[in-house]
Symmetry: C2
Subunit: 485 residues, 2 copies
């Protein structure tokens, strides 16, 4: 999507920002702005921001949005730019607001097991800061060493330990949010239970900057878990791996990680790093426990029993923490191992967890039929798979072909009762599938909420929801709405 805005409106906005907020850094040079065109969704086309602003306080964000509303300039909120749905990609001529300078932890509240933080902090830095106090922040997207908490909140990011600890939304107790008109709102607080009014906290999380900009979050912590114990199990078929997952689930086992890799992924990792993976296997499960004391070993014993009953062909179990770190690389290196083989388009489908083997078969069928290479890994314990379509960027037909395959995989996921995005978000990349998945009445309700909270439509227009009319740019839409300056 390329939305155009009015250059005169942008110029007037920048003039007003420089006057009102002289300390806020603004990038206006085209070369500088180019770095904010894309997020990590490299296969998407995106617009060049008209300017990039770096607020340092809630007051800055409030003033920026008040001015953007006044001048009717669309705003793209952005964290570290690691998103996989184009949610923070540029809009041609719009103002991108980058939150990375608001990166301070405001308070670690040990007694109430929570942390109050600004959104710009990197996930791994937050984890490290609370770990120094003997505490644990659970959500761990694969990009945790480079993604920001604000981006995690925007997408309701998942990760490897969701199966035990839930997604980002499950870790949020309260927010400070700036609305499109600059109003500052607080939701929730430090209470683990609170039913006063509608759950605005849950609504803002996952709205990808289309309803407001999050400027502060109160996040739930846990006492530090035990060190990770790691088990890899290899299977002769995808169905056997799926059967092992089902047996663990029905046994009540809740490991902290329950990841699956298919044959292509196993081989790509092993070719690159020689970890000793079983390259004859059709699938691998990585099971980890962070239970305290002897609990970890007991959990992996149960995982082994379930895996053997499902026909596991070989296993590797880490003898100690160092060996666990070594084995864990198998999963962590997966994406980079695939990227050595071509351009990777990573998708993010989910299904009710018992249907994972069916989804894997559907992915195989579609990619084989179109002659597209694909390697799949993902969060088997949650029913969330990442098929990675690998193509040659220099092949002029390849991109269109991966799009066809993507649509077939989306259709297969929905036919299995699934979702086109389990943790990456609709963003710009999957907008066309939202009504197909949730239905027109649900989209109409989402649209009415968007219009209620952002009546001028300046917040990340065209993300999550389509623009009101495909052919229109947001500025002329705003003008048609007849809003005064």
């Amino acid at each position: 999507m390329t939305v155009r805005t009015d250059p005169a409106a942008l110029a007037a906005l920048l003039e007003a920002i420089r006057h009102t907020l002289p300390a806020v850094r603004i990038l206006a040079d085209a070369g500088d702005r180019e770095s904010y065109r894309l997020d990590e969704t490299a296969y998407l086309e995106a617009g060049l921001p008209g300017a990039v602003a770096f607020p340092m306080s809630t007051g800055d964000v409030s003033a920026l949005l008040m001015l953007a509303s006044k001048h009717r300039v669309p705003v793209v909120p952005r964290g570290a730019g690691t998103g996989l749905s184009g949610g923070a990609a540029g809009i041609e001529g719009a103002l991108t607001v980058v939150m990375t300078r608001m990166d301070r932890i405001l308070e670690i509240d040990r007694a109430n097991l929570c942390v109050v933080t600004q959104p710009g902090i990197i996930n791994a830095d937050l984890k490290a800061a609370v770990a120094a106090e003997g505490l644990f922040y659970a959500p761990d997207p694969a990009s945790y060493e480079s993604c920001s908490i604000g981006g995690n909140l925007g997408t309701n990011a998942g990760g490897l330990c969701c199966v035990k600890y839930g997604q980002t939304r499950d870790a949020v107790l309260g927010l400070e949010v700036v609305l499109a008109d600059g109003t500052v709102l607080r939701t929730g607080g430090r209470n683990v239970k609170d039913v006063a009014g509608y759950s605005l906290t849950h609504l803002f999380v996952g709205s990808q900057g289309t309803l407001g900009i999050i400027t502060e979050a109160t996040l739930r912590l846990r006492p530090a878990p035990g060190p990770r114990a790691t088990l890899l199990v290899f299977f002769d078929s995808l169905e056997a791996a799926g059967d092992a997952v089902a047996r663990m689930t029905s046994d009540g086992l809740v490991p902290v990680t329950l990841e699956l890799m298919d044959r292509e992924t196993i081989r790509a990792v092993e070719d690159w790093h020689h970890l000793g993976l079983d390259v004859g296997a059709a699938a691998m499960l990585m099971v980890e426990s962070d239970a305290l004391g002897a609990g970890a070993s007991a959990e992996l014993d149960r995982a082994e029993t379930a895996s053997l009953a499902a026909g596991g062909r070989s296993m590797v179990r880490a003898a100690d923490v160092q060996e666990a770190d070594w084995l864990r690389q198998a999963r962590r290196l997966a994406l980079r191992a695939l990227e050595r083989q071509g351009t990777v388009r990573m998708e993010d489908v989910g299904v009710p967890r018992a249907r994972v083997p069916e989804l894997l078969r559907a992915i195989e069928r579609s990619t084989a039929a179109h002659g597209v290479r694909c390697a799949t890994f993902g969060h088997a314990g949650d029913g969330n798979l990442h098929p990675n379509l690998i193509f040659d960027r220099d092949d002029p037909d390849a991109s269109a072909l991966t799009h066809v395959v993507r649509d077939e995989i989306f259709r297969a996921a929905l036919d299995l009762g699934g979702t086109v995005t389990a943790e990456h978000g609709i963003g710009a990349a999957r907008r066309d599938w939202l009504p197909i998945q949730v239905g027109d009445p649900a989209v109409a309700v989402m649209r009415s909420i968007k219009d209620a909270l952002d009546p001028l439509g300046i917040l990340n227009p065209g993300r999550v929801l389509q623009l009101p009319s495909v052919a229109i740019d947001p500025v002329s839409r705003l003008e048609r709405a007849g809003a005064g300056p």
Copy 2:
């Protein structure tokens, strides 16, 4: 609150319902309707419904709301009527829609650990049905033997095991909802992870029938836990009990129950049932574990250690399941034991969990200053306390006095960073405190969402949010909005 509606509009609505939905039972007789005036919030004044309808299908609910919209008659959605906020209490002359006939379980999906159910089923019946399949539905409000799942969803009900398993919202994967105009909407599904669009599921849960009527829910199940092991610990002071809770929390202990009773509650229960409680104690904690196998005993060992370190004066630990059932009565009988002593006004405040002792002291100060009897119990592990103000209904000043004390307790909870309602809901009883707690900007956002989803304002008007103007009735408001028939 007593809102009046137009009798002619109601008569026309009933005529249309009888014509369109001849099989839907309607109560029109004043004596019959009287049973639907109140929920369990007995101290509130409430209106007499103009009629009561009992739909049997989603189609019935859709047609009822379409007709109610056409005739501009307010609708009060109601489950089993056990609410403690007046959320399902009658509105004078309005249509109460009772969901108890839609009480079928549609599917128990073992492989995906979920159940699809209609909302009218009683919580305990749902628990029993899934337990017969070796599965567990966690949310357990104290009224679980009589409350309905639909009511639980409406209030995001809590209960005793929230500390381990979360509230009702945490157990919801998907919903079918009928909007004010009769549109049928589906949200979510059977996926544990799904970030497609805004989280409407989370928004509808806890909205107390003001945004739509839930007609079906897909709820998360777990494999059956172990039998409950139960420990009672008695303390010389409220602070010591609070310290024990803090020690358990920081030790990473997550018992399935972590309940507190104060001196007044201990004595009321012991006077009535002679369980052998330590009536010399200032506070009691009930700690339960449902860990599998030897895990339960190990958890209670850790709870004992924490309690002794905090100065626990005596303990009783159940030797077996029968003794655990016996001890568990201490908490289950608490409310009825207090009701033997007078009319009980139960409140529902919450604070960040480390501040429970401060809140208990504030409750003591306020009730002592006004000479109001109070007994407090609640969910210490969540920071959620239920102060029960006990008064003589025949004393003409007593009700007003309890209201003054309530306001002081609310103020104390908010001063501690807490909430005026942790699990019972704003409903009609606590509307005046919503803006004080969440602030005018948050209320304005809630109002804009309400107006977007229910533009005529027919769904449970005046609950959660105030009516747009206090002096106005919803019918004339609707007329002013100029909506055509």
